[in-house]
Symmetry: C2
């Protein structure tokens, strides 16, 4: 689903990644992260994809840079970042952006 974000400006974190073939703990921590995000102040939604080759993208949207920093420093998320580097990702790129404008089309 297209994330239902408010009027710009807000923040987007574009996380593009290539997975290893290690599955251990990945789904479980993703579920926990999703729960934690549910009530997280300043979290606006996300859009996520992964293809069958393990290449994926996750764009999360945030009210402001402060909310995103609090998420970066969240204990569970810190643990996930650590395990991600150790086990789940071959490589990734995280891009932090200010959304300046947006345009919606609906039939």
């Amino acid at each position: 689903m297209i994330a239902n974000t408010p009027k710009p400006p807000y923040i987007a974190a574009i996380f593009t990644s290539m997975r290893t073939n290690i599955e251990e703990g990945y789904e479980q921590i993703n579920e926990l992260l999703c729960k934690e995000l549910g009530g997280f102040e300043g979290y606006l939604g996300h859009e996520t994809f992964r293809d069958k080759n393990g290449f994926g993208i996750n764009v999360s949207y945030w009210k402001d840079m402060e909310s995103l920093k609090r998420w970066r420093d969240n204990t569970l998320h810190q643990k996930a970042q650590e395990l991600g580097k150790e086990k789940w990702y071959k490589n990734y790129k995280l891009r932090i952006c200010t959304v300046e404008m947006d345009y919606k089309f609906e039939k």
Copy 2:
């Protein structure tokens, strides 16, 4: 593949969309657009995904807002935008962002 972008700041255009089931002309124009983008001044690369339900994301990266505006106004791209609304997309959201910082991890 993760797009090989330069040091921030640069521009990201996040295009999240839901396709109709009309295929007519879609692949063909996408190929033409890719060719046109190849030599397009200011175009830095893109990352793209679509799932089996027709939900997709395409993030393209640009040197500056001027390059992206020239792409918006490109004749072939204008035609594609028109046909996209008419035929290929149920709905979409385009978000124009300034990438402020990025972080790369590689094993």
